[in-house]
Symmetry: C2
């Protein structure tokens, strides 16, 4: 059964307050050489079909446009794999 992995990350230049607060907390915990933290979200999507991976890739792009990512602030990457 194929699995689509969608990685949603903030566009370059968009503030990442969660990452920034994580950096501060790590510094406070003694990890002094942490300079920057960026956060990302991954959706692992199991598909019940035998569609070819080119079609799955196209569907995954539609999923991102319609639901998973906000084009104003997010970039996304898609990986299709069999498992």
């Amino acid at each position: 059964m194929p699995v689509i992995e969608v990685i949603v990350k903030l566009k370059q230049g968009v503030a990442d307050p969660e990452g920034e607060n994580t950096r501060k907390a790590l510094n406070l915990l003694g990890f002094d050489d942490v300079r920057r933290v960026r956060t990302m979200k991954v959706f692992s999507i199991e598909i019940e079909s035998n569609k070819d991976s080119r079609i799955l890739l196209k569907e995954a792009e539609e999923m991102c446009e319609k639901l998973l990512a906000n084009p104003v602030i997010h970039d996304y990457e898609i990986r299709v794999r069999e498992r």
Copy 2:
């Protein structure tokens, strides 16, 4: 400068309401063959030092134990890479 990537995911068997609601929404949008969605979080941590990757791996494990992951519900993976 090395970058540590920490992937935090829910343990097998722990409910993932965000993933489940994403699956429902995708089904409602017409993506009928989506059977399951799991969500994960990635922290991309930039380190300002020349420590060797074994030491970085050990530090990253400490970061997970102290801050990034909750051992009751989360598993994590760590990758160290140069960039």
